[in-house]
Symmetry: C2
Subunit: 153 residues, 2 copies
């Protein structure tokens, strides 16, 4: 299924920019099902004081609130501007996400790619059907590196 991911990742990037306007680490996420956005969110950890307020969880909870369903519909894709962390990876497994597309790779190696081999071997009751990183990776990474550069000054 060859699809252009650009338009959806651009939506996630727009959400990341909203986070940045609030002085939050700029990461954004959208959940897409049959071409429709079914959830969106951006990192809001500082403003909300909520440990779990990463973009992916905010997008999941947006979907949860709208539907009262903790499980995503079959065939849902997540577009997120940065590689998901351990917590978000776990939440996306519970939500039964099918496809996961992310932008910036996490340089610390404490994220999705570290755990993906275990997930793919069937450690959990669910595994992602499709995972791809580096989508608009340069744009997504620049957002983050510029944010941290400004913070240091």
């Amino acid at each position: 299924m060859p699809v252009s991911h650009t338009d959806k990742m651009m939506l996630a990037i727009d959400l990341a920019k909203e986070a940045e306007l609030l002085d939050e680490v700029p990461i954004g996420a959208v959940l897409v099902h049959e071409g429709k956005i079914i959830g969106k969110g951006y990192n809001l950890r500082e403003k909300t004081g909520k440990t779990t307020a990463h973009a992916e969880i905010q997008a999941l909870e947006d979907y949860n609130h709208q539907t009262q369903e903790w499980r995503l519909p079959i065939g849902t894709s997540l577009y997120v501007t940065a590689e998901p962390c351990l917590m978000c990876t776990g939440a996306l497994i519970w939500a039964r996400l099918d496809s996961l597309f992310y932008g910036a790779f996490d340089s610390k190696n404490a994220s999705l790619r570290t755990f993906l081999p275990m997930i793919e071997k069937g450690l959990f009751d669910h595994r992602f059907k499709e995972v791809e990183g580096g989508i608009l990776g340069d744009v997504c990474s620049s957002l983050l590196s510029n944010y941290f550069k400004k913070k240091r000054h």
Copy 2:
């Protein structure tokens, strides 16, 4: 620091029983700092339709709501009636939890113990100072197995 964990785990067990009354998988959790309960929660995934509504996350969010802080105070302990999953383990790392005491072991091996060696090797910026499982383990396990037995009938 020899402490009796029984009283705190009993509080978590009481919370697990509240979950059961609502026909939720009976898991409860309390956060303790300097002898005081600073957060509590129980599994509410079905009732809330919230993917992340595990006992540990509910307890964290209880603390978050009260304090507007995403980070736990130094020296905080979590008592939870079951071994934390991947998502909750990740959230507890982000929250900078110091001590983690749990009851029932997860038989599926897709939980804390699987990832603990990686955490202890310093994969993340934070590691737990103390982790102990099996506290009132029989009581915590029975709660779960009785619940699932009833569900099957």
